[in-house]
């Protein structure tokens, strides 16, 4: 019997520590990993790409999106697939997905005209609110809206930003957190680990200086994440969860999940786990 050697592609914009952990994981598991640098990549239908599955690690959301569309349409599975990527990349779509599937999340709305802030105030209730770009990450351009004056001022500034999606005013209630949030890392249908991201700032991302500590998984967290996996489908993602006075609230789901700090702090070989999961999808 001849066994086919599995080849996995990894497409990247910048090779960070996270991607290097995946490369190490491939070496440990004897996998032939083919690296695709988007600076050198030309996607054209006649070209043969010599791998069975692609791990999309593009740091640029929009480049990653095109890469996924291309390879999926030429029957090379991509992790994460376009369904997961689309839902996770667009925060408004994530909110709709969570709400529609009865997964507890933060009250949200979208509007397009700054003259509607009185009505928005009536719907969302008392300030503060949080205004976020529908695309973006690492807590970038998040605004905590403490009152009407602040709301008017921020919306006026956003009107002059060049990117059209800054005129989509995605607004949520502000949730008071106990100085931390929870990040759950999921690979396939398996919950790998959970960490607290502690930060005295209201934005708790580790990219903004948040400190990581292990969080013990309890039944409520496990059930919540299993529900997300069952509805969203298998993939590699990070779920951000707030602890509110009304229980857990899912804030975001990240589809190009960063894990270097988690791997180093908890000593879990997430890079290898990603490779093992991908191998299982080929064989």
């Amino acid at each position: 019997m001849i066994f086919k050697m599995s080849k996995i592609g990894l497409v990247y914009t910048i090779l960070r520590e996270d991607e290097k952990f995946i490369i190490e994981g491939a070496k440990k598991n004897g996998v032939d990993l083919i690296l695709l640098n988007t600076d050198k990549l030309i996607l054209e239908p006649q070209k043969n790409f010599n791998f069975d599955l692609l791990i999309n690690r593009c740091i640029s959301n929009f480049i990653g999106e095109q890469v996924t569309y291309f390879f999926e349409n030429f029957n090379i599975p991509v992790i994460n697939n376009s369904k997961i990527s689309n839902i996770c990349a667009n925060k408004f779509l994530t909110s709709i997905f969570l709400y529609k599937n009865n997964i507890p999340t933060i009250p949200f709305l979208v509007f397009f005209n700054e003259n509607l802030i009185e009505e928005v105030n009536k719907i969302l209730g008392d300030y503060p609110f949080v205004l976020k770009p529908i695309y973006g990450s690492w807590g970038r351009l998040l605004s905590k809206i403490n009152d009407k004056d602040c709301f008017e001022s921020i919306l006026e500034h956003k009107k002059y930003l060049s990117c059209p999606y800054h005129n989509i005013f995605y607004t949520t209630k502000y949730i008071e957190k106990p100085g931390r949030d929870i990040r759950v890392t999921i690979i396939g249908s398996q919950i790998i680990c959970a960490v607290y991201r502690k930060n005295s700032h209201w934005i708790s991302n580790t990219a903004r200086g948040g400190i990581i500590e292990k969080c013990e998984l309890n039944n409520d967290l496990i059930n919540l994440c299993n529900k997300i996996i069952n509805i969203l489908g298998e993939g590699i993602f990070g779920v951000d969860i707030f602890e509110s006075e009304n229980g857990y609230l899912v804030n975001e789901i990240n589809h190009t999940v960063e894990f270097k700090n988690i791997q180093k702090t908890l000593n879990i070989d997430i890079g290898s786990e990603i490779i093992k999961y991908c191998l299982g999808k080929i064989i």
Partner: protein, 58 residues
Amino acid sequence: MYQAECPICGSQAEFSSIPEENELINCNSCNNRLLVKKIENNQIILEEAPQIEEDWGE
């Protein structure tokens, strides 16, 4: 051992093997984030890591 000059502080960054293009590294001397821009005939060219773009992230 391979070496390349840090474009910011001018010190020599060392690599045990040839890195990948667009690999992110930290300069051991000035601690700035650098990117492996080009590799030609085992010669490694570094540049300052790019600023964060608006659609970058998780």
